[in-house]
Subunit: 150 residues, 2 copies
């Protein structure tokens, strides 16, 4: 139980700091950064909206609006899929990539400063492992829930 509360507090404070640094220095919210980062990791710099939804931990509508915003700023653009007219690829523009590259050091420094440096090597490994288990486990139960719903 104390683990739970500590996790809540830790998450809240780390996220708040990272987000405030990112927004003041580069005008990017944390989900926006996540989106750009995930896009940049792709060879074609693009992902489907649903994939972004998964990547940015956002609901479909949230992704739609976030991409709207990023598009208005010229950081991404929408591209229709030739094979399936329902899917829309969101593609990172050069401007978007530049913005990401500019923001990257800030983000990296933030994570180090607010998380990595406060823990020793073993702690960090433990956290990574445990959180990985949690994320995976919940993904599984999600699948089960979806299965029994159908």
């Amino acid at each position: 139980m104390s683990a739970w509360h500590s996790m809540l507090r830790a998450h809240a404070s780390v996220v708040r700091r990272l987000e405030s640094e990112l927004t003041t220095e580069h005008g990017l919210s944390l989900p926006a950064y996540e989106v750009l980062a995930h896009l940049s990791a792709r060879p074609d710099r693009s992902l489907r909206m649903t994939e972004l939804s998964e990547a940015a931990l956002l609901s479909p509508s949230g992704v739609t609006r976030l991409v709207d915003k990023l598009q208005r700023e010229g950081l991404v653009c929408r591209r229709r899929c030739a094979a399936d007219a329902r899917v829309i690829y969101c593609e990172l523009t050069d401007t978007g990539l530049a913005r990401l590259v500019a923001a990257y050091p800030t983000h990296l420094r933030g994570v180090r400063q607010h998380m990595v440096d406060k823990l020793d090597r073993d702690d960090l490994a433990g956290v990574a492992a445990s959180m990985g288990k949690l994320a995976e486990a919940t993904a599984c139960t999600d699948a089960e829930v979806a299965a029994e719903a159908s």
Copy 2:
């Protein structure tokens, strides 16, 4: 870095589940539950608004509105402080306590189910320790920031 991403995902999914269970079964958001729980832990069942703000990880305005809502539902009431007319005590009513007692098992089960049971004993201890460090460390830097601002 993978620790960071895992933490984000784990937190998001655990929180979402807990919250949805709490709201559907008892009509309480997670912050609302936190508030009631913290109040119940006090001998006089009351806390100042600022203390609630800290407890519920909410901004002052957020607390004001959350307490407004809880008050409308009759779960808490506001009480002025005789010694200092600025401070307002938020006090848990009997109804509020009853609601909390009703919700408690749900919350406990949720935390077990979505977090504790997915980790073995050592993981859990590690998470508690590490997250404790993070929360504490960020509290410290908060203090520093406040100090240098003044």
